[in-house]
């Protein structure tokens, strides 16, 4: 071991001494052999010649000895690297192009990977999140998503007691509070949690304590744990925070703990039926259920999260639950029986919907990187064609083929690593611009950063890239007989083989670009379709909501407040209509009512989206009245008599009948018969991309705890300020939630689509650019190589246009081949895109034709420049050059 190390040391630091010793050793040997031969009777001259012949060349022996020295490969690598740097810096145009090309590809991959890392890979601030599951108790008789059914507390706590699959289980609820601080009110989202919440998430406060079961006892519930953000913003990171308190909805809560920075669960994206306003949670309070609430089975409760015991799978827990549910169902009213228990992995539920998008993007940038590799490989090929002479000389001087291949791979490695460095810079820039694109509903996207994992990924990518780009030129060189090549003293023979490889690369690149461009084209078409969807309401309508605190617990007081607020809103200059609704379109809120329509073949458990609106709602939202009349103020006295339906409802339930005067019966709490007085236009409620569902509107005088909509002729900003001051004038302790226009809600609803469309378009554009550079480079290179041929052709009478045609024909052939392959590939590749399309087929002819045309035109233009140069070759000079 020590001798090995010493040898290594000597190889590197005493090389000159070693070489000198070796020379001496060999020359003594030669001398001794010669002396021996002289003794046996040869003449000294003859002896020396014989000796040399026998030794087979001193230089060869010396090289053989050097080759076995310890660490010689490192020394070689060092040599190769130095040689590589020298050759690369001798040709800066080539090097910069190759590095930038690869850097774009690598940078794009690193950037997208940093997003994947933040959203899908990086661990959450909860211990072992893989074992966290949501618990739902859906009833398959109701045609509603199972995520709508949080378990009733009675069921939940029974399951918790009886099951053996879970380590812990917790119930919590979300609510908004008015947080008053020095006369100013702000709205904070809070989670009301039972005593096992923090333990289930395995998250503990950085300061103070968590909320316990003690805190959940009646009379002890006025304690709060706050978020790190709130501690900083509201209390200026005060160190005596545990002695302070918080006023929520006029009640004071003792602060008992501060959570770590990352913990703001639940976020709006965490809960399957999350409400957008609850972006992050700032305050955790005791849920403080009364014994009767804890035994409640009729109403669905809040949210339930459980932690599986180690080694228990979801399926195992699920089967245990189904036996428990058999017993629990017997405790229910017959018409409510049929409850099931459903467990959903928390991570799946949070990021499941963005997983496919992120993988799609990663696939796209992977293609971009492949195209970049193709470019760099082509550049290297072109260059190695020009370097055949140099390589031939090296081979003739005794460099082994493996050595030369290694040299070429080393150069590719240098390019790859440099490009990796530049790629990191690109990725950094991308992350700087990411917030501009962030649709706001991709969990933790804002936390994307270049951490260690991303850097390692980039390094691995650089190495892979080097291999991909270096292997083709190296193979080509190793196939060519370099010494023969030197003898031929020309570059025609090998050039043919090179040209084929390069041409094949261009075809592949063109095909890949076509796939990317058509995907981008389809997404752009989809986006345009989404943007031009008729939402059915006016974009300029302002929306807000007010959360009343317990001071307004009496219905009369609430009504008084709203009456006052509505009249103040109507009095704002420029306001033309004010209305209210319990579930605003695009706000992720929903109410369903069971109903029957007279004269229709009704089904069991038929549900419809029910809306309670004030008379001003339709005009404030500019929803068109198609038939009959809207609600008047008088109608609000008969809230259980009159309804208005939307067009979808009328079409479905009153097909070929006049809906006006038709009868609809509700069956929720008690049977209630109503008459249809009007039909209004459809609105997009759940999302812009879902076609409108049947809806039914019921009149109320004021929207209690719903949304308020205001239509005004003045700028939304001014009106928003007026709305705030109107509220402040009534009660300074109340805060209005974000005042937004419907247009802003619409924009938020299409943000995800904008995000994916713009990213894919940018990457497709980068890919196109790279492929064009590749095509241009190949054409320019082949023009350079064929100068002599063109010279001869022109000397023999070819016209300039003939030469141009000759050159363009090659480009056109490559493009056509590439387009054909690309069409075939994208025909199948769009299948991966299907889920992302809206209102456009995967094989949309218009998109495909325009994308092909774009690619063909760009490609021909890129080829035209070198072709013109070929045509302008002066035959005399071209021939003289050789």
């Amino acid at each position: 071991m020590i001798s090995r190390l010493r040898a290594l040391w000597n190889t590197f630091f005493r090389r000159d001494q070693l070489d000198q010793d070796l020379d001496e050793e060999l020359s003594v040997y030669a001398e001794l052999v010669a002396a021996e031969k002289t003794r046996s009777g040869l003449s000294p001259d003859c002896a020396r010649r014989d000796t040399h012949r026998e030794m087979g060349g001193v230089e060869q022996v010396r090289q053989n000895v050097r080759d076995i020295r310890a660490g010689v490969w490192l020394e070689r690598l060092n040599q190769d690297l130095r040689y590589g740097v020298r050759t690369l810096s001798r040709d800066p145009g080539f090097t910069v192009t190759a590095v930038l090309t690869l850097a774009l590809g690598i940078g794009a991959c690193s950037a997208i990977f940093s997003m994947v890392n933040a959203v899908l890979i990086r661990s959450l601030p909860y211990g072992d999140p893989e074992r966290l599951v949501y618990l739902f108790t859906p009833n398959s008789r109701d045609n509603l998503p199972p995520e709508d059914f949080g378990p009733a507390y009675g069921d939940l706590y029974d399951i918790k007691r009886e099951s053996r699959s879970f380590q812990s289980m917790t119930a919590f609820d979300q609510s908004m509070f008015n947080l008053s601080e020095q006369g100013e009110a702000q709205r904070v989202s809070a989670a009301r949690v039972d005593g096992d919440f923090f333990q289930t998430f395995q998250a503990s406060p950085v300061m103070g304590r968590e909320i316990t079961w003690e805190d959940n006892q009646p009379g002890h519930e006025r304690v709060a744990v706050i978020s790190h953000a709130l501690w900083q913003s509201l209390f200026g990171s005060a160190s005596d925070i545990l002695h302070r308190s918080l006023v929520l909805d006029g009640k004071s809560y003792q602060i008992v703990g501060v959570m770590p920075i990352a913990f703001e669960y639940p976020h709006n994206f965490d809960l399957p039926e999350g409400v957008p306003q609850y972006k992050t949670t700032q305050v955790w309070l005791p849920l403080a259920l009364t014994p009767s609430q804890m035994a409640e089975r009729d109403n669905f409760g809040g949210n339930a999260v459980a932690r599986l015991k180690p080694g228990i799978s979801i399926a195992q827990a699920q089967s245990e639950l189904s036996t428990i549910m058999v017993r629990l169902n017997k405790l229910l009213d017959p018409h409510m029986q049929g409850r099931e228990a459903l467990l959903v992995n928390l991570l799946d539920s949070t990021v499941g919907h963005v997983r496919s998008l992120l993988w799609l993007l990663l696939g796209v940038v992977g293609l971009v990187l492949l195209i970049a590799c193709g470019n760099a490989a082509n550049l290297l090929l072109a260059r190695s064609a020009g370097r055949m002479r140099e390589l031939g000389v090296r081979a003739a001087l005794g460099a082994g083929r493996r050595r030369i291949v290694r040299q070429l791979l080393t150069e590719a490695l240098l390019l790859g690593i440099t490009a990796g460095g530049a790629g990191i810079a690109f990725a950094f820039l991308f992350l700087r611009f990411l917030p501009l694109l962030d649709p706001g509903n991709i969990p933790r996207l804002s936390e994307a950063s270049l951490d260690m994992r991303v850097l390692l990924f980039t390094l691995a990518l650089s190495l892979l890239t080097s291999l991909l780009t270096g292997v083709l030129p190296a193979l080509n060189v190793s196939r060519a007989n370099l010494v023969d090549f030197l003898a031929a003293a020309g570059n025609r023979g090998v050039a043919g083989a090179h040209g084929r490889t390069q041409g094949a690369l261009i075809v592949i690149q063109t095909a890949l670009v076509l796939v990317l461009l058509s995907s981008a084209g389809l997404l752009i078409r989809s986006y345009i379709n989404v943007e031009s969807v008729d939402t059915g309401f006016s974009e300029s309508t302002l929306t807000t909501s007010v959360q009343l605190d317990p001071r307004y617990s009496q219905p009369q007081k609430r009504a008084e407040f709203y009456r006052d607020f509505y009249s103040r809103l109507s009095a704002i200059p420029g306001v033309t209509a004010v209305g209210g609704i319990n579930a605003l379109p695009l706000s992720n809120s929903e109410t369903m009512r069971p109903f029957q329509v007279e004269g229709y073949a009704n089904q069991k458990n038929q549900l419809v989206q029910g809306r309670w609106i004030t008379p001003g709602y339709f005009s404030a939202m500019s929803i068109s009245l198609l038939a009959g009349r809207a609600f008047s103020q008088d109608d609000t006295a008969h809230t259980d008599r009159l309804v208005i339906v939307n067009r979808s409802f009328a079409n479905k339930y009153f097909a070929n009948r006049n809906p006006i005067g038709g009868h609809v019966t509700f069956e929720d709490h008690h049977v209630q018969s109503t008459t249809v007085i009007g039909v209004v236009g459809d609105v997009r409620h759940t999302s812009l991309e879902e076609s409108p569902a049947p809806q039914i509107y019921m009149p109320v005088s004021e929207a209690a705890d719903g949304y308020i909509v205001v239509r005004a002729s003045r700028a939304p900003k001014i009106v928003a300020a007026e709305i705030r001051s109107a509220l402040h004038a009534i009660d300074p302790n109340l805060a209005a939630a974000d005042i937004q226009t419907m247009g802003q809600l619409e924009s938020a609803a299409s943000a995800r689509r904008r995000f994916q469309t713009s990213l894919l378009t940018v990457f497709a554009a980068v890919a196109l650019l790279l492929a064009l550079i590749g095509l241009y480079g190949l054409m320019a290179h082949s023009v350079g190589r064929r100068t002599r041929e063109v010279g001869i052709r022109m000397a023999l009478g070819a016209k300039r246009s003939d030469v141009m045609l000759l050159m363009m024909k090659k480009a056109a052939l490559l493009l056509a081949l590439g387009l054909t392959c690309g069409l075939v590939v994208s025909w199948f590749a769009v299948r991966a895109m299907q889920a992302f399309l809206f209102g456009v087929g995967g094989h949309d002819p218009a998109t495909i034709i325009s994308v092909c045309a774009l690619l063909a035109v760009c490609g021909l233009v890129a080829a035209l420049i070198p072709a013109r140069r070929a045509a302008s070759i002066d035959p005399i000079q071209a021939l003289r050059m050789e």
Partner: protein
């Protein structure tokens, strides 16, 4: 048996060098001649394979070298066995004994038949 020298069988050179150095330290030329002598001229080691082998074995710690006087009064590099080298020689000798026995048995040849 006298005839044309064999090509060295893979792995034989090392053990021959070790054996050559078992008695005394030698320089490169000396090792070459000693091997030739030991094998009655069957193996003639050329410089092209001798020196890389010597340097490799020195790196492996089987040999050590020092500079001394050669016959012609020139400074020459003398190689000698280290402890590790001696151990290696024993191991190799044993291995070769086994191989040659096995080969002889397999081919049905005997010392006398030669």
């Amino acid at each position: 048996m006298a005839g044309t020298p064999f090509d060295l069988v893979q792995g034989t050179l090392d053990v021959l060098i070790l054996k050559a150095l078992a008695l005394q330290e030698l320089h490169g030329m000396g090792i070459s001649r000693r091997i030739s002598q030991m094998t009655r001229g069957a193996f003639d080691v050329k410089a092209g394979s001798l020196f890389p082998a010597l340097h490799r074995m020195e790196q492996a710690g089987w040999l050590t070298s020092n500079w001394g006087q050669a016959e012609t009064n020139r400074r020459a590099k003398f190689y000698s066995l280290t402890k590790k080298g001696t151990k290696q020689l024993h191991a190799e000798t044993e291995r070769w004994a086994r191989i040659s026995l096995a080969m002889a048995a397999a081919l049905g040849t005997h010392q006398e038949a030669l």
